[in-house]
Amino acid sequence: MPEEVLQAPLVLEYPFTRTTGPVVGRFLTGLRERVVLGVKRADGTVMCPPLEYDPANASALDEMVEVGQSGVVVSWSWGGPRREQQPFDQPVAWALIQLDGTDTPMLHAVLVGGPEQMSTGMRVQIKWREEREGHITDICGFVPESDETGPKASATVDLDSVEAVESVRTPIRLNYSYTPGRALSEYLYAMKDKRIIGDRCGDTGQVFVPPRGVSPVAGKATTGMVDLPDVGYVESFNITRVPIAARPDLQPPYCSAWIVLDGASVGFMGLVINCELESVRLGMRVRAVWKPDEELGISATNILGWEPTGEPDEVIADIERIGRVGAQQTRRGAERGGVDSQQRGAL
C-alpha cells in the first residue's frame, strides 16, 4: 500500500449529569454553603467524604455530622505538569487529607508552588471557590493552614432551609488519535479516486466491503483487495421520518438502505436519493452518486447517496438468506459473476 495509514483526531465526550442521592447530595449541598459533612459509621468513626454505605460491611449510612475545614496531610504526591481537564490553573500537589473530626482521608489538591512546600503531617485548610454550585470543585483546593483563606466555617447555615443538591455535572472529555487500520485506510484512499474496494477471503473467495482486513467467515486475515463496481441493489431499507439531533444534515424523510454491490458478499449502508422514497423496494438496482470531482476527499462521504439505475429489479432467489453473508446470491448476481453457489454452499 503506497499511502500511510490514516490517523485522525477523535474527541470522546460524555456530558454526564449524575443523581446524587441523599448522602452525596447533602455533602455537596454543604460544600455550596461552605459546610463540610462526614458520615458516622456504626463504630462511631466518621468518613469524609461520606458514602451511603460502609465499605467494611455494606450497612447503610445516613447520620451526617459537620467536620473541620482543616486537617492533616496523610500522604501526598507531586504529579508534575498540569493536565488539560484538571480544574486548576497551576500544577498542584495531590494529597490524602484527614480533616479534623474524621477518621478517613479525602483526596484533593494542595495549592502550593512545588513539592518542596509539601510534607506528610503538615496542616492544611480548605480554600473555597467564590462561585459555588454544590460540586467537589467548590473546594478550590487546600492551602497551608497559616495562609489567608477568607472566612472559615459558616456554622450558622441550616442545610434544611436551603435548596438541596440533587444532581451534579461530571462531564468527561478524552482526546484520541484514531486509526482505522490498514484495510480501512486503503478503502478511504480509494474513495478519493471514486473507487470502492473490498477485501477477499482466501478460504471462501467471499468479498467484504468495507474491508477490515479480516474474514469473519474464516477467522483469518484477508488475502487482498478487490475493486468493486459502484452499482448494486437494495437488499433492505427503511424510511426515517424523525430528525436526529446530532445529524442536522440528514433532513427527514430519508431512506437508509443496505446495498449489495455487484461482486460483494455483504451489503453496506447508504442513502437512496434522487427518487420518490415510496418507490424504493427490495431488489431495486442503484448506482453511487459521487461528489463533484473538485470536492473529493479521503472519505466515505464522497458518496452522496445511491440513485436508481432504471434496470430491472434484482430477483432475490432465497429470501431466507437476506442479511447473511453471501446473501447477494441472486439470479442476476450469479449472471454477473458474483460468488458462485459452490462457495455459498460452504457457508
Binding site: S77, T170, G213
Partner: protein
Amino acid sequence: MKDVAIVSFAQRQEAQIPNESEVEMMIPLMEQAKSAVGLSQKDMGFTCSGSSDFLAGQAFSFVMTIDGTGPVPPISESHVEQDGAWALYEAWVKLQCEDIDTAFVYSYGKSSPGSLRDVLATQLDPYYVAPLWPDAYAVEGLAARMLLESGKVSEQQLAEIASRSRLNASTNPHAVRNEKKSVEEILAEPYSADPLRPSDIGAIADGGAAMVLAAGDRARSLCERPVWIRGIDHRSDAHTLGARDLTSSMSATIAAEKSGARADRIDLAELAAPFTTSEAVLTEALGLGDGVDVNPSGGALAANTMMAAGLVRFGEVFQRIARGDGDRGVAHAASGPCLQQNLVAVLEGE
C-alpha cells in the same frame, strides 16, 4: 473439578502499534495460538476476551475484534471489560460447568491513541475524585509515599526492583523497556510523580495476547507439557482510596491463600505490578520468599499493556514451565486504582 491446563500462548507488545486496528493487530496472535496446537475456532468449546472501550475510544469496540475468531457459524462467546486474566477465569469456570474441553482466551489494549494517565482518571469515584482529574501516576504516588514512610520499603529497594526488571527484560523480546540500569542510575533519575521515578512506573505498551486452554486428556494430547491451573481466585478491595490501607493488599493476600500460592513451593512468579511499589506490596501479600524468581520476564514494569498485562503473566509462566524452567509458578493480574482487584493462580507442569 476438571483439571484445566494452558496449552498454547502467543503475545505481542510494543511501545506503539500505530498502524493497525485492534482486529488487525490480533488476527496473527489468534492464528498463532490456535495453530500451535493444531486447533481451529471450530474446535473451541468457549471463547472469552478482555478489552476496554475507554482505550479504544469506541463503544462496544470488542465486537469488531470477534471477527478475528471466525464466528461463522456463531460461537459460544463472552467478553469482560477487564484484563484477559479475568477472561481466562471465566473460561476456566465455563470448562468446569459445561461439557467442553477447550477454550480460547484473548485480550488486548492499545493505549497509544489516547492518554492513559487521563483515561485512568475516569475509573475513580465519579462524584468526589474523577472531576479533579488526578493523574494516575499521582494517585499511585499517594500509596507509594505511605508505603515508603511506613518503613516497609525504601527508595533503594524500589530502585532494586526497577533495576532487576530492566535486567530480566533485556533478554525478553516482548519487553518495551529493556535497557539495563543500575540502582544508582535509577536513584539519580528525577521524580516524575514524586515519590515515583520514571523507572518505578510500568512502560506503557500496545499489544495483546492469545491463549488456548484445554481440560484433562485433551490437554495432554495437544502439547508435550500442559501447564495446569492448580488454583485460581480473585478478590476486590473497596473502591474508595481512603477506606483501605494502601500499604498492603488484603485482596491479593486472600486470593493468594485461596489459590494456594501462599501454601505451596513456588519456583517463579509473574506479577502484573504496574509500579515498583505495587510489586513490593504484592511480594508481601503473596508471601513470595527469597527462593522465588520474581518477574523473570521483567514483568508489567517492562511492558504494561493495559488489559493484557495479566494474561501475559499467565503466558510467561506457562512458557517457562512448559520448557522446564521450573515446575510451579504463580501468575498474578491486577485491575483498578492502587491494586484494588487482584487475581492469583498457581500453575504447575505435568
